[in-house]
């Protein structure tokens, strides 16, 4: 079995046992990227030199007996997470040449652990989309079927892990952007509780919803990465100051007596039969292991899509206003006055979906609509938050689909923005409520495409989520393209 197939835990053991060196390992990954990126298109930027430098340093740390589990592990970073000296494009013409003079806190943390950053990963422009087709660098292709999407917006992050082009990756999740691509590519993805991971250096889409999280080959790896990136950051006022937890602990404790809530609203209509069957089958597996399934209600969840789109687009309309062609980013050469400088730089620099969201947000905040759209959405947000709280009175985790279908064809939905938006029904509410959501592969559809179950927990219950996910993974196994699962 190739070294590239191995998990963080396995790779780390091989590095420590001197079965392979970090530089050699890094070269293996780079070779793999060189070979497959043309096809998968998951990398926007590969930073070979920086990676090899980091690999040498990591090797030294290992030689000196450095204990960090991520030391020497090659990783990819979604291209909306700032990396000092390495361009950070957000897959947008607007930031095509932007080289940040600072790194995101999570990147500092990974580098501090000795991780090796291979490059920056493709995505939907400014994280807006669910298929990673909205990228000036072209769509990410699903490693399971190259005619299909990898999901989005962290499609590059999910595809890179699935295609063994990184040992693990970081993505960001505003309305499902880690969980849906994880499901589409058959990898594990975690959207942490809002406030658990610092947002400093994550190019903001919707500040009250955005969270950075890991995508990995298995649940254990996910826990290892979370250990490295979680925690209070004085640079982020919304990062929570709480005691350190070891997320790898208790993974094997099992699910005996764990109450699993099944929201009836999630299994009603609009859900693909294969997806429904795979998710319910996974729940049965958990029951077989001692878990107890209950039906729960999330009566307001049906409004989560409009509430999510109004809130996220409103925040985005302000967050993306700074791209004006003055201090950084794309600047139109045609502008004759200041007003044209704004309008043309933004008109030419942003893609269609980004413009659509900015306009939607601008509209929702403008006088006359502020109360009936924006403010109303904030009220609905609280209703959804309350719904989850009520549901968690009767269960410990909620099991749900990640998306109504498994991966669809490239180009299939791109002309139908509203249809794409509606797909966020299972994920967006979790962001609105600030809760953690873990996606673990649990089956495949009739086309052979992977399906992931979403486990939703109470705020800061990542440890329990990972424990349930681990039990499930042990029961159903992990999923790799090209392997006969």
């Amino acid at each position: 079995m190739s070294i590239l197939n191995k998990t963080i835990k396995e790779t780390s053991e091989l590095l420590r046992a001197r079965k392979i060196g970090v530089v050699e390992l890094t070269r293996e990954y780079i070779k793999k990227i060189e070979k497959d990126n043309e096809n998968i298109n998951c990398y926007i930027t590969v930073c070979e030199k920086e990676a090899l430098d980091a690999a040498e340093k990591a090797q030294k740390l290992i030689d000196e007996g450095e204990a960090s589990p991520l030391c020497g592990i090659p990783a990819g970073i979604k291209d909306n997470i700032c990396t000092e000296g390495i361009r950070t494009t957000c897959a947008s013409k607007m930031l095509e040449n932007f080289i940040p003079p600072y790194s995101a806190t999570v990147v500092e943390k990974l580098l501090g652990q000795g991780a090796v950053v291979l490059g920056k990963l493709n995505m939907d422009e400014f994280a807006m989309g669910g298929s990673s087709e909205n990228s000036i660098f072209g769509p990410v292709r699903n490693p399971w079927d190259n005619t299909r999407v990898a999901g989005g917006s962290s499609g590059g992050s999910a595809a890179a892990v699935s295609a063994n082009m990184a040992c693990f990756t970081l993505g960001s999740d505003t309305g499902g952007s880690i969980r849906q691509p994880a499901s589409f590519c058959g990898v594990v993805g975690l959207k942490p509780t809002y406030g658990l991971v610092s947002r400093y250096g994550l190019v903001a889409f919707a500040s009250s919803l955005d969270q950075i999280g890991p995508l990995a080959k298995d649940v254990t790896d996910c826990a290892i990465i979370l250990n490295a990136i979680a925690g209070f950051d004085p640079m982020d006022s919304t990062s929570v100051n709480k005691e350190y937890e070891d997320y790898t602990q208790d993974l094997e404790k099992g699910v005996q007596g764990i109450r699993i809530g099944l929201p009836k609203e999630f299994f009603d209509i609009g859900l693909d039969d294969d997806v429904k069957e795979a998710v319910l089958n996974a729940v049965r597996q958990l029951e077989a292991l001692g878990g107890k399934a209950y039906e729960v209600g999330l009566p307001s969840i049906k409004h989560s899509v409009p509430a999510y789109y109004i809130i996220s687009s409103s925040e985005a309309s302000a967050n993306l206003a700074r791209y004006d062609g003055i201090r950084y980013g794309y600047r139109s050469s045609k502008a004759r006055d200041i007003s044209e400088l704004y309008r043309l730089s933004r008109g030419e620099g942003f893609g269609r979906e980004v413009k659509r969201r900015i306009l939607l947000g601008t509209y929702a905040l403008s006088s006359g609509y502020h109360d009936e759209l924006y403010k109303k959405a904030l009220k609905v947000r609280r209703m959804i938050f309350n719904d989850f709280n009520n549901a968690f009175e009767n269960c410990d985790v909620i099991a749900a689909p990640s998306y109504p279908v498994a991966s669809f064809k490239i180009g299939e939905n791109i002309q139908e923005p509203l249809k794409m938006y509606l797909g966020d029904i299972y994920t967006a509410g979790v962001n609105l409520a600030g809760l953690p959501g873990l996606v673990v592969p649990c089956g495949r559809d009739k086309n052979g495409m992977p399906i992931g179950i979403q486990l939703i927990g109470k705020a800061f219950s990542e440890k329990l989520l990972l424990r349930v996910g681990y039990a499930l993974e042990k029961a159903v196994g992990t999923f790799r393209p090209g392997e006969g699962n």
Binding site: Y194, P306, S317, E340, R343, R346, L359, E372, Y421
Partner: protein, 96 residues
């Protein structure tokens, strides 16, 4: 409600985004559909529910009043598409 091209132009102006004339019609059509869907919000009875701005029960996060930053001008201004003598440049902004 009906989103027409004029509405799109008005919002685009507020958001400072230029559009090609031929883009507008398709955009307005999509937008009309999307807004039409989002407007279900206004029909929801939210009773006396208060708007939720933050999900975290966190308050009073401050920094101490310390001046900690170094002058980094030359590095920061490298990000600018145009600059001159340490200044950012825009087309003339005349006070009318």
């Amino acid at each position: 409600m009906g989103i027409d091209i004029e509405t799109i132009k008005k919002i685009a102006n507020l958001a400072a985004i230029s559009f090609e004339e031929n883009e507008l019609e398709g955009f307005a059509r999509d937008f009309d559909l999307i807004i039409g869907y989002m407007e279900q919000l206004s029909k929801i009875d939210t009773g006396d529910i208060k708007p939720m701005e933050h999900v975290l029960p966190v308050q009073n996060v401050f920094r101490e009043d310390e001046d900690t930053n170094q002058n980094n001008r030359d590095e920061l201004i490298k990000c600018a598409p145009v600059s001159e003598n340490g200044c950012y440049i825009v087309p003339s902004v005349v006070e009318s």
